[in-house]
């Protein structure tokens, strides 16, 4: 109740202020893959060499597997993912009115799992959840990101922006300091990108695995020695929404490859 009123007030405040000024105009946006070495870039672009494709393929298999009390598969409801899932990832994270909360693509998949299949939700970073997310997101390859940040999403968007701009951790740095002030520069050996979410889940060599956007964000929190937000916490979801808006127009590249 109190939270509801708070969200309402925050929502009203967002209508009043021009919350949507862009510090990275469309012409200045650069996908993370443009900061990669030519070798890694080629690896991402080659469907056989890209290790992330293994997860896409796992997801494609799971799409047709019946599960849960109702014994239904994703395909039983959604048919051919190539048609039904095209463009979906470009709209996420999205506010879900029924659940009354913000869902990223992983959250949506797990919600279908719990409510439509009546099966146990997949664990964060499990092969299954990464696989299905990569499979669904890869259907939107080449389509521009465009999320809704108005209506019930507005307070989440405003909070995401606040989280992007505030200093945190013992290093006392904000996302902004690295990904806006210093994109293109090197932090020791790593070239800092503009911090866009358009290729997730990605395959990261350092992880020797695929990983979600939330996992990457937690790595940045840990880099500045800040308290790690839990998976699916409001902080990570709100930040993800702000990042998707900030990257509006960038084409989806899932599965990305990173160092």
């Amino acid at each position: 109740m109190v939270r509801g009123v708070g969200a309402l007030l925050l929502g009203l405040a967002c209508v009043a202020v021009p919350a949507q000024e862009r510090s990275l105009p469309a012409g200045a946006l650069r996908s993370g893959s443009t900061y990669l070495s030519p070798e890694l870039r080629a690896m991402q672009e080659d469907g056989f060499a890209n290790p992330g494709m293994l997860w896409v393929e796992k997801g494609a298999k799971l799409w047709g597997v019946r599960a849960g009390a109702d014994g239904r598969s994703c395909a039983d409801c959604h048919g051919d993912a190539r048609a039904s899932m095209r463009g979906v990832a470009a709209r996420y994270p999205a506010f879900d009115r029924a659940a009354n909360r913000l869902l990223d693509l992983e959250g949506r998949i797990n919600q279908c799992r719990a409510e439509r299949q009546r099966a146990a939700p997949f664990a964060f970073e499990s092969e299954e959840l990464l696989g299905l997310t990569a499979h669904v997101a890869s259907q939107s390859r080449g389509l521009p990101l465009k999320v809704a940040v108005d209506g019930p999403a507005a307070p989440h968007f405003a909070r995401g922006r606040m989280l992007f701009e505030r200093r945190i951790g013992q290093m006392n740095l904000a996302c902004l300091h690295c990904h806006e002030w210093n994109a293109g520069r090197r932090l020791l050996a790593e070239t800092i990108s503009q911090g866009h979410p358009n290729a997730y889940p990605i395959y990261r060599l350092e992880w020797q695995s695929a990983g979600s956007l939330q996992r990457r964000l937690r790595a940045c929190y840990s880099g500045v020695r800040a308290e790690l937000p839990a998976y699916n916490s409001a902080d990570l979801l709100d930040l993800s929404l702000f990042l998707a808006w900030r990257a509006e127009g960038l084409a989806i590249e899932t599965p990305g490859v990173r160092r």
Binding site: G169, N172, R185, R186, A189, R225, L228
Partner: protein
């Protein structure tokens, strides 16, 4: 004088030392609040003239500068003799000719006192930080002695 164990160590505790640290921390919590504060320093003419600890050691300072932990200065700064470094910050070559030891000391202790918008972390400050991971909460990145080692080493870069 606060008990020694209340002074911020340079790295988070690990393994079997955790319990002892936790007990020591408990002792600090019940000690007067002042025990958690860092010794005061005076900023004058854009610097801190008084050393924070006994005179530092240039060789230790040099090693610290390039070590991954705890200082990791080369994340951002190039420095003489260092092969791989970031480029978020000015190279440290010649910094001893540009800045006095007092000015160097303040930049290490808390660069935001000179430039509030700086991205350089404060290496000897615990206040005014947000959501610091539990392992580092209430601890400075470097000890007073390590700051002095770096001041001496950086002063030799002319």
């Amino acid at each position: 004088m606060p008990p020694r164990s209340c002074l911020p160590p340079s790295r988070p505790p690990s393994g079997g030392r955790r319990l002892r640290r936790a007990l020591a921390l408990l002792a600090c919590l019940v000690a007067p609040a002042v025990a958690a504060q860092l010794p005061p320093y005076v900023i004058e003419d854009g610097g801190i003239a008084a050393p924070l600890a006994a005179p530092g050691d240039a060789a230790r300072g040099r090693a610290l500068l390039a070590a991954r932990d705890p200082a990791n200065c080369i994340l951002c700064h190039a420095a003489p003799g260092v092969r791989f470094a970031g480029d978020l910050a000015p190279p440290l070559d010649g910094v001893g000719a540009r800045l006095t030891p007092a000015q160097l000391r303040l930049r290490l202790v808390d660069s935001s006192r000179i430039n509030p918008a700086t991205i350089m972390p404060a290496y000897y400050r615990t206040e005014g930080l947000t959501e610091v991971a539990a392992a580092w909460r209430g601890r400075t990145v470097l000890t007073a002695a390590q700051i002095e080692d770096l001041v001496v080493y950086l002063s030799t870069l002319r």
